[in-house]
């Protein structure tokens, strides 16, 4: 009895350790493959370099991913600009206004949205959204705008469900107190419920941003993938190449320093997403003492 208990405990510990081990191994592998080029080029030159020219026919190849870092943030922030107001409005409706039948329909629809494979969203973007943008807004169609819209659709369910949870966990007493003072429902939502749910909502938004930056397939198909900054910098109809696309597009034929530079891109991506996740976690934790 005693020994069998012990064995089970050890097995459970090993299962738990596997997850940690896998993360550690991936990180070690990324560093091993990517560090040589980072050392050779210099971290600053790599992250801030404007020029990505890995297979130079004449002269030295150059590995600058600054335009791709900008592109990743550009499409991710663009997606938030679309998805946050929409998602928040939907969450408020779900949590505060919707009768139970509407709530259950919406909840199911949102779950379906989560289940759509990203390649399908990308495909829809490619055949519908890109030509639409080309015809109505001009440019090539493959653009920051297209990428942001597709990412916004992917971010919506996450923002909605986390914000919905945050709003529903606001103590009922706050709502009653506000209403008892003669505030309208809308005023109560704006001044009491949303501020009280703020940390959860912020966490949702940052988490959505982290996922958007890490998203690959759907973005790759609509964003155009040219590794230069948009010109002018605010032109959202220009194509760009996020870090994720860079890795996928060139991995199949890259060798030597070029391959190493792609792994280094992965390191930068990993760090950015890890930092965003940490911030999101912190935002959720600070919910414990809701004070100002």
């Amino acid at each position: 009895m005693k020994t069998s208990e012990r064995i089970i405990e050890i097995l459970l510990f090993l299962s738990a350790a596997t997850a940690v081990l896998i993360v550690a191994l991936i990180l070690i592998f990324l560093l091993k493959e990517g560090l040589p080029v980072l050392v050779k080029v210099g971290i600053a030159n790599f992250c801030l370099g404007m020029n990505w020219n890995p297979i130079a026919i004449a002269g030295e190849p150059s590995y600058g991913i600054f335009p791709m870092i900008v592109a990743s943030f550009y499409v991710a922030i663009g997606s938030l600009i679309i998805a946050v107001p929409l998602g928040l409005a939907c969450a408020v409706f779900l949590a505060e206004i919707a009768p139970s039948w509407a709530r259950s329909i919406l909840k199911h629809a949102i779950e379906l949205l989560v289940g759509i494979p990203s390649v399908i969203l990308g495909f829809v973007g490619l055949v519908l959204l890109v030509p639409f943008i080309r015809d109505h807004f001009g440019g090539w169609g493959f653009s920051i705008l297209a990428g942001s819209i597709i990412l916004a659709i992917m971010a919506l369910p996450r923002i909605i469900s986390i914000s919905d949870d945050a709003i529903r966990s606001v103590p009922r007493e706050y709502k009653e107190a506000s209403l008892a003072l003669g505030a309208t429902h809308w005023h109560t939502i704006r001044k009491v419920i949303l501020p009280s749910a703020r940390s959860g909502i912020v966490a949702a938004v940052i988490l959505a941003m982290a996922t958007s930056i890490g998203e690959t397939m759907a973005v790759l198909m609509v964003v155009g993938n040219t590794p230069i900054l948009p010109a002018p910098i605010y032109d959202i109809l220009d194509p760009v190449r996020p870090m994720t696309s860079n890795i996928v597009l060139e991995m199949s034929y890259a060798t030597g320093d070029h391959a190493s530079a792609l792994f280094a891109t992965g390191i930068v991506l990993f760090v950015v997403v890890a930092v965003l996740n940490a911030i999101s976690h912190k935002a959720l934790k600070s919910k414990m003492g809701t004070r100002r």
């Binding site: 007493e173 107190a177 505030a183 309208t184 501020p195 004070r291 100002r292």
Partner: protein, 252 residues
């Protein structure tokens, strides 16, 4: 006897198919304290929540009969619950200050009703905190979070927040059940002062409290109003056997 401020006539209330209030008829006079006592689940909180229409938030809650405030039916078609709640404030069982500064808590109501003038707000906040006997304790820490106050202070802050809206009636729903005896005494003193200007209805399961603070007392049992009258008479010469049993502690 002073004017009647709130009067219920044959009030029935159902949650779904369960009847929570049965044929309640009683009149609460102006600028007096009316206490509602009774064992848990007797409908006393449900009744008080009818008066400011907090039961509107409860699904499947159905009400028949009349509930009059200043002669108009609270549940009449022309009555706006939001407007009504400006005149009938409520202090809840658990102190529930908003997670904001002390100042913002008290200023919340006036701001809701459109007041933006800073001096005017300052004046209302100070006046309300003085009226709720809290000014001496928090006058110089108004920008601190209300959540950091003690339970008793939080409850007096909630009273100040209610006063800031300038209601005519204040409903207290077991305001001391989460408080220590000293904080309770302070709230009771406060109620004794406030009754000169406000009509007060207080739900309590503490019979000594009802005896101490109220002018009239209603005894509820299983959703029915068993007995209603002058507090002195209810406690000294109850007409009904069950009232006597309850106040002498034989059940409840």
């Amino acid at each position: 006897m002073s004017e009647i401020e709130i009067e219920s006539r044959n009030l029935d209330l159902w949650y779904g198919s369960a009847q929570a209030l049965k044929n309640i008829s009683m009149a609460m006079p102006e600028k007096k304290v009316t206490a509602i006592i009774g064992p848990s689940g007797c409908g006393k909180s449900t009744f008080i929540r009818c008066i400011n229409r907090m039961n509107d938030l409860v699904k499947d809650c159905r009400i028949t009969g009349e509930l009059l405030f200043e002669g108009t039916d609270i549940y009449g078609n022309s009555v706006d619950a939001v407007e009504l709640r400006k005149k009938i404030g409520m202090v809840f069982q658990k102190p529930n200050p908003f997670p904001m500064s002390i100042y913002d808590n008290v200023a919340y109501g006036p701001r809701v009703h459109g007041l933006r003038n800073k001096e005017e707000l300052d004046r209302i906040v100070e006046g309300s905190l003085k009226a709720s006997a809290l000014w001496n304790e928090v006058g110089d820490i108004l920008d601190r979070s209300a959540v950091d106050l003690s339970g008793g202070q939080q409850q007096r802050l909630c009273i100040a927040r209610t006063l800031a809206v300038k209601p005519k009636v204040i409903l207290f729903d077991e305001p001391c059940s989460a408080l220590d005896p000293i904080s309770t005494a302070k709230i009771e003193d406060l109620i004794n002062t406030l009754k000169h200007e406000y009509t007060i209805v207080i739900v309590t399961h503490n019979m000594q409290q009802a005896a101490r603070v109220s002018d009239h007392t209603a005894f509820f049992l299983l959703g029915e109003l068993v007995e209603f009258g002058k507090t002195k008479q209810i406690f000294e010469l109850p007409e009904k056997k069950s009232t006597e049993d309850y106040i002498t502690g034989r059940f409840g």
